[in-house]
């Protein structure tokens, strides 16, 4: 048997096959370990006023989580999925966005919604059970909190793409906006997450996906969710940049997230940011987290509480003193008082609202159904009135 000396048949084979030029993967891969600033030399050059601001906001955020949890105990909220321990993610997600930008929150991100300016009562309407969404998405440029996981991620892509389309055809109306979509570690497993990242990559849309990897999807730990080196490693598969950051380091979060947002804004394409963090509270007030995680684990993460870390750093750096801490705490109490006041006598929902916004104009079928309900409620009211009158008569 003669064996081919490949030098004899070079023309036969030619260069390797491909469908177009290959992109270099290196810039898309995340660092092996999460980006940190606290405790590193970079902390020294970080704007001092911004650091103080981050601290004050984190304190407010923590108080918000506590107050909302209290409201569930009082039965004023049906449910609240607290973001305690994730405040550095929530706060910076709101901070790095400009007014023109859009936020696409997941069900756990009420704090980010409030941090972007929505009145607490309105941000919590869904959890109160009064209406599905309590704020005007156009006023705040915030999509409704998304309960079906990861389903809002393609919406962020579509909106960001649409803004580019408008800018191209109508430069006068151009808005240099970025859409920021918030997803959990569990949410990354959904098909919609995949499809959103792929569309973003292909369209080059100005979107940032922030994955708050808090280690659990309800009870399911990360190891049962993904075998990837990091969730940020998913980015390369879509041709987009992946970044890994310490989600409990407020300075790192602010720095990485603003860079990602400006990367997207400047037309350099979407970014996937994975923030490694931890949910210190249970999944919601209805959950019993002791069923699936140890006190030791929670304690270890409590020692890395983003607020404690930042406060310690600021004190050590001389940027914060007892007076500053007290002032922040006082502002937090003012916020908590405002929330309580908003929940004191919130309006009741109108039954007719069941029918008014199903379509732009109700169908004849819905008009019939609304009339039926109205008649029944009227009859009930009449009956109640009659009963009350009878009782009065009797009493007289």
């Amino acid at each position: 048997m003669t064996v081919l000396d490949d030098s004899t048949a070079p023309g036969l084979v030619g260069p390797p096959h491909s469908h177009g030029p290959r992109r270099d993967p290196a810039p898309l891969l995340p660092d092996p370990e999460p980006v940190r600033i606290l405790g590193t030399p970079a902390a020294k050059t970080f704007d001092a006023e911004l650091q103080r601001d981050l601290y004050r906001r984190l304190v407010l955020g923590r108080r918000f989580n506590q107050q909302a949890t209290t409201l569930t105990r009082q039965g004023r909220l049906a449910v609240y999925p607290a973001s305690t321990g994730q405040e550095a993610c929530q706060i910076t997600a709101a901070m790095v966005l400009r007014e023109v930008d859009w936020l696409f929150p997941s069900y756990r991100d009420t704090l980010a919604v409030v941090a972007r300016g929505v009145r607490p009562l309105d941000a919590l309407t869904l959890m109160r059970g009064h209406a599905h969404s309590g704020y005007d998405p156009y006023e705040h440029r915030i999509a409704p909190l998304s309960t079906p996981l990861a389903t809002q991620a393609p919406h962020a892509v579509g909106l960001a793409h649409a803004a580019r389309l408008r800018a191209a055809t109508d430069p006068a109306a151009a808005e240099d906006l970025v859409a920021l979509a918030l997803v959990g570690d569990g949410g990354t497993s959904e098909g919609d997450f995949h499809e959103a990242l792929n569309f973003a990559g292909v369209l080059g849309a100005p979107v940032v996906f922030l994955v708050q990897n808090n280690g659990y999807a309800i009870s399911v730990p990360l190891a049962s969710q993904s075998a990837a080196p990091s969730l940020a490693h998913k980015a390369v598969g879509y041709g987009i940049a992946g970044r890994l950051v310490d989600g409990n380091d407020a300075l790192a979060m602010h720095s990485v997230l603003s860079a990602a947002v400006e990367h997207a804004r400047s037309g350099r394409g979407p970014v996937l940011v994975e923030a490694v963090t931890y949910r210190l509270d249970a999944h919601t007030n209805a959950d019993d987290a002791t069923r699936y995680r140890s006190a030791a684990e929670v304690d270890a993460w409590r020692a890395r509480d983003p607020l404690t870390l930042l406060e310690g750093h600021l004190r050590a750096a001389g940027l914060l003193d007892d007076a500053g801490v007290a002032a922040a705490a006082k502002a937090a109490e003012v916020l908590a008082g405002e929330i309580r006041a908003q929940f004191d006598n919130p309006p009741d929902p109108d039954p007719d609202s069941l029918f008014t916004h199903v379509y732009a104009r109700p169908t004849s079928q819905l008009r019939e159904q609304a009339a039926e309900l109205a008649a029944r409620l009227d009859a009930d009211a009449d009956a109640a009135l009659a009963a009350a009158t009878d009782a009065e008569d009797e009493a007289r």
């Binding site: 209406a131 599905h132 969404s133 005007d136 998405p137 156009y138 999509a143 409704p144 079906p148 389903t151 991620a153 393609p154 919406h155 962020a156 892509v157 579509g158 909106l159 960001a160 793409h161 649409a162 803004a163 389309l165 408008r166 191209a168 055809t169 109508d170 859409a179 098909g191 919609d192 995949h194 499809e195 959103a196 792929n198 569309f199 292909v202 609202s353 008014t356 916004h357 199903v358 379509y359 732009a360 169908t363 004849s364 079928q365």
Partner: protein, 328 residues
């Protein structure tokens, strides 16, 4: 001018793209190829690849992207390549498209048109011939529209795209190549049929056939054949399943006292059940016989060589008419 349904749909898209800069078409193969049925033929060439976008192959992604575009004020027209390939987008349809206006208290409507070529009779292999209208019709918040004629294809698609509500627009693919004397250019805005009105396609006195989409021609043929049996059948084309035109339908049934509903989809919990139930609720004392249904069997859509047995046929319709208790 002889125009096919495909050409009429194409004209509707073209005219909508021309008149309204916010209209954007997107889907698999809608651009360069012009769609596997050529409904989007030439649109990318005329309006650019961005107005008629070839997307990645992912239906939830397509519809989810369209939701975001609509949030920003565009009017996306999405093509799902075939009925069964719209199922991956079902969560987006049910949990977002249908509900967004309601969940935001009316603040955020989604004027999205979802075009779905549907139904059988074209010899398609499995998953290419589903009739999925019941899934959408049962989902509050959607309009569900299906044209049966060339003129309606043009007019109803214009209305769907202009609607501020999401519309699932079901195109009967076996009528794609049907043709009629119709010129889109001659349609004035005033003539565009509104969504929500049924149409009596044939008056009649003996019994009323209630149908839509691909089954309309079969019903008209059955009505023709019924004359030999001495029956004068009325035929109503529903055109819009949601909103439903109770007025026209009930008037047509009351006039004859007998009715048969005809559609291709499986009968069990199909739209025909709703029609039979609501007509009976509203016209009970006018009915000489129960409203009967001629539908696809309760089976997965059959392979091409057997589909003729599954589809409502003139014979099956006449059999049902014969069972309308005439001797009573």
């Amino acid at each position: 001018m002889s125009t096919t349904m495909v050409a009429a749909l194409n004209a509707a898209l073209r005219d909508s793209l021309r008149e309204d800069a916010s209209v954007h078409v997107l889907g698999e193969d809608v651009g360069t190829l012009g769609g596997v049925f050529r409904v989007t033929d030439g649109l990318a060439a005329e309006f650019g690849a961005q107005r008629c976008l070839d997307t990645p192959l992912a239906e939830a992604g397509i519809l989810g992207t369209a939701v975001g575009m609509a949030m920003y004020g565009l009017r996306p027209v999405v093509e799902m390549q075939f009925d069964a390939f719209a199922y991956p987008a079902f969560e987006q349809v049910v949990s977002h498209v249908a509900k967004m206006r309601n969940r935001t208290g009316g603040r955020m409507g989604l004027p999205i048109t979802i075009r779905v070529p549907y139904g059988g009779g074209v010899g398609g292999v499995e998953h290419h011939s589903d009739s999925s209208e019941a899934y959408y019709a049962h989902t509050p918040g959607l309009h569900v529209v299906t044209p049966a004629t060339v003129a309606d294809s043009y007019g109803l698609l214009r209305s769907a795209i202009a609607s501020d509500d999401p519309v699932v627009f079901l195109e009967p693919k076996r009528l794609y190549w049907s043709a009629a004397d119709f010129s889109p250019a001659e349609v004035s805005t005033a003539q565009v049929p509104p969504i929500g009105r049924a149409m009596v396609r044939r008056p009649g006195t003996s019994a009323t056939l209630l149908t839509y989409g691909p089954s309309l021609p079969v019903c008209l043929e059955a009505a023709q054949a019924a004359r030999a049996e001495g029956w004068d059948l009325a035929v109503v084309d529903l055109r819009s399943l949601v909103p439903f035109d109770d007025e026209t339908v009930c008037a047509a049934v009351r006039a004859t006292g007998r009715a048969v509903v005809v559609h291709e989809a499986a009968g069990f919990a199909g739209v025909g059940a709703e029609i039979a139930a609501r007509v009976t609720e509203r016209c009970f004392h006018h009915l000489a016989a129960p409203v009967l249904r001629v539908t696809g069997y309760d089976i997965p859509y059959p392979p091409p060589m057997l589909e003729k047995h599954h589809l409502p046929s003139v014979d099956r319709i006449l059999d049902a008419v014969a069972r309308l208790q005439w001797e009573q």
